[in-house]
């Protein structure tokens, strides 16, 4: 049966057609179509018989209370975390600058002496950043949102992943996995080999493959490991900028 026929039968069953003539003729004309129509009607009837889902008054009241509590308390917490986060990067940057200045001015002879101290300082900064990053990855959505928008570098992808994204990348990742598992490609790849190689190299994913390409607000490469695994990591790369916009898994 053609996809158009299936759409017609589904629309006839749920009553969304303005003009049912073509759909009725189709259903009359073939036994398979009649069976599909009956099946769709039966499911719709069953789904229609399910009761509406709702919150209790107490749940509703608790929702409002918790929401306003959250909105009142979280911004200050997010701001303080953010400020700390920015300073940690400033500090790390300063240490790098100091280290470079030391090398440039020829004070290499003191390297052994100083490097221990610098290494320790870097280790502390790195540890602090790791701690923040770990806390951040556990933060609920609202924190991730309020945390975004500064001078981020390495942590941007993690935070972006926690933010409410313009597209359901997690679902798209699941679809991409399913499509690959079943051997079908849901969205054709239209970017040139050169663009793909450039983006894979830029994203540090030269060993992975582009399994499909999505044309949403811009084009995104959907990238997975070359070897098929049961739950592969799916990476979305914006073709224009070659930036990783989302990592799933």
């Amino acid at each position: 049966m053609h996809r158009h026929d299936l759409d017609l039968i589904a629309a006839l069953a749920d009553g969304s057609l303005d003009d049912e003539t073509e759909a009725r003729a189709l259903v009359e004309s073939c036994e398979e179509c009649r069976a599909e129509h009956r099946s769709q009607l039966a499911v719709l009837e069953l789904l229609g018989s399910t009761p509406r889902v709702g919150m209790s008054d107490l749940e509703r009241a608790a929702l409002h209370r918790d929401l306003w509590t959250e909105l009142s308390s979280r911004p200050s917490k997010a701001r303080s975390g953010r400020s700390w986060y920015r300073w940690s990067y400033v500090a790390a940057g300063l240490f790098v600058a100091v280290g470079l200045a030391g090398v440039i001015t020829g004070q290499i002879q003191r390297y052994d002496e100083e490097s221990a101290g610098v290494a320790q300082t870097f280790a502390e900064a790195d540890s602090d950043l790791s701690t923040f990053s770990a806390e951040d990855s556990e933060m609920p959505l609202q924190d991730a949102e309020s945390a975004s928008g500064g001078g981020e570098t390495a942590a941007t992808t993690t935070m972006a992943a926690e933010e409410a994204l313009p597209f359901p990348f997690a679902e798209l990742a699941d679809q991409a996995r399913a499509a690959r598992e079943s051997g079908e490609r849901s969205s054709p790849i239209s970017s040139s080999e050169e663009d793909i190689d450039r983006c894979l190299l830029s994203a540090g994913l030269a060993d992975e493959v582009v399994v499909e390409e999505l044309d949403l607000d811009q084009r995104y490469l959907v990238v997975m490991a070359r070897d098929v695994t049961s739950e592969p990591t799916v990476t979305f790369i914006a073709v224009d900028s070659c930036e990783i916009v989302y990592v799933d898994g």
Partner: protein, 182 residues
């Protein structure tokens, strides 16, 4: 310019900190958002959390609403994304399975929960569907969104939604048929 009294105008007032405007928007959509979340997540407490996260996002991102869709559609899209996010996190932390929530101090709660539940055989059949089919069927056939609205919420073309709804119903029919014969 958004017409005065419209939901888009209410959202504009939310941006300027109007709490009563936010309460109005929330009251209009909270039950449906909860319903969508409960049907996607299948767990009452997680659905309540997702509903709260949804409206936190609505409040914080009200300024980003561009009026290209209805306010409700925009909110349901946020809700579906919040649910996906929860599912993704739960996959990473499979031990975090929360029990159904019943507050004994609320006499209406238990009755509401009983009436809220899908019939078990339908719930089982729905949960066996692939995510994209299940969510298309939930939004279209249980929540009554139009196909363009479902497309907007799910971020896919209308043709894809049609196909998912059809195939979702077809799989449901098979699942339910198998349950009846087993």
């Amino acid at each position: 310019m958004t017409p005065p009294g419209s939901e888009a105008e209410l959202l504009a007032r939310v941006v300027s900190g109007d709490r009563s405007a936010f309460d109005t928007v929330m009251s209009a959509h909270q039950d449906r958002v909860f319903s969508v979340c409960l049907r996607i997540l299948g767990d009452r407490e997680r659905a309540l959390d997702a509903t709260q996260d949804t409206f936190l996002t609505v409040f914080r991102k009200a300024g980003q609403f561009e009026g290209r869709s209805a306010v409700g559609t925009w909110i349901y899209r946020i809700a579906v994304n919040v649910c996906y996010d929860q599912i993704r996190r739960a996959r990473r932390r499979p031990s975090e399975s929360l029990p159904d929530y019943v507050d004994p101090s609320d006499p209406a709660a238990e009755a509401a929960i009983e009436s809220a539940a899908l019939r078990p055989e339908i719930e089982a059949a729905l949960s066996a569907l692939p995510t994209e089919f299940r969510n298309a069927v939930i939004l279209s056939d249980l929540e009554g969104l139009s196909l363009p609205e479902v497309a907007e919420v799910m971020g896919v073309p209308v043709g894809t939604v049609k196909s998912r709804v059809f195939r979702g119903r077809r799989l449901l029919a098979r699942q339910l048929g198998n349950q009846n014969t087993s």
